[in-house]
Symmetry: C2
């Protein structure tokens, strides 16, 4: 009995799995879940449609893996910024902005990650799984930052970091979803709008954070 954690067979299997996922990722990023059909995917990698089901129980399960990988990307980036030693004000701002930017960079991924609809795994629930999920970890980063803000006196002292984080997260999520669904957001010209998208993301981040700030008069 060897100690190799992966037999040749297993390695080969994982390789093919990865090839399927990679092909799926390409299509999904461009056309979303609806554009990603098993038959098309099978054709792309020169397999029969039924072959996919030897590697994934269902299309949902396949897509779920794309979503999880995507949220890993968000978490990594947000974490990287959160661990920086830049001043709190811009660090928190950057976290919020980065979250929205990555989300809108892969709109189909982001929208799907929150559409429990097709997802088989409870996306985020009252269940213990949440704290371990990538989404849950991202949330912890956020509430951690808010705690820090309260501690250093930047935020009001009566703030409950967990509660506030839920509100802030919703606000970030909202802008991300707006941009995802309305590609021209925020520039639907009810009148001339000159602000660029990235500037608006920062504007929104400031707006959201300002709701937490303490005011030393």
């Amino acid at each position: 009995m060897t100690v190799t954690v992966s037999s040749p067979a297993e390695r080969r299997r994982n390789k093919i799995r990865a090839r399927i996922l990679s092909a799926a990722e390409r299509v999904f990023a461009r056309e979303g879940a609806e554009g990603l059909s098993i038959r098309r995917l099978a054709e792309n990698i020169d397999y029969s449609p039924a072959a996919i089901y030897k590697y994934f129980k269902s299309k949902d399960e396949l897509v779920d893996e794309l979503k999880e990988t995507f949220f890993e990307l968000i978490l990594e980036n947000v974490n990287r910024i959160a661990d920086t030693s830049t001043p709190f004000a811009e660090r928190s701002r950057d976290c919020v902005a980065t979250y929205v930017q990555i989300a809108t960079d892969k709109p189909y991924h982001y929208a799907a990650a929150f559409a429990g609809e097709s997802g088989t795994q409870a996306p985020v629930d009252g269940e213990p799984g949440f704290a371990q999920s990538k989404k849950g970890q991202a949330f912890m980063v956020l509430s951690g930052m808010i705690s820090e803000g309260v501690e250093i006196g930047a935020f009001r002292s009566d703030i409950d970091p967990t509660l506030a984080a839920k509100s802030i997260w919703a606000s970030m999520h909202g802008l991300a979803m707006m941009i995802v669904h309305i590609p021209t957001y925020p520039a639907f010209k009810v009148e001339q709008a000159t602000m660029t998208r990235n500037d608006f993301i920062l504007y929104h981040a400031d707006q959201v954070i300002r709701g937490l700030e303490a005011h030393h008069g």
Copy 2:
């Protein structure tokens, strides 16, 4: 040539159209666009599937009408509150809260209204159509309230109402979408959470509005 704007034939037609829409509404509210199949719908009203296409060009067009009607509902309610003479502080708060409450009351409607995906009509664009759409009108109510807040000195004087409205709307949208996609939001217990949903909606509304407030020290 009579002046009757609707002939008997036309009235009959509209009646059947309404019956189709009504049946569609029932199914859609419970199961969303995916659960609403033309065949099922046809069976419900004792017609053949093809008959539906004498009244609607496509399923998308049918669903678009459900969405438009839904946003009429939101607009009516928000407008009703906005025209109240209650103090500005709670009036603005109520507007935000009502928007989110109605949205989450019909989650499939709200999510679909923003999912350009299946929608054929540009949902909200840089195009002139926006100002006339129900969504556009709801946006005008919001930016109008912000203007009022700036005028009476409740909000900071450097605020651009249009820009701020876009940010606030995103924040409202975010909470609505969170609740839509995560039915237990905000109570995914990373620790014990005792706040009810409606209370949290109000909490969020306060949080969002606070970002606009002037601080007279």
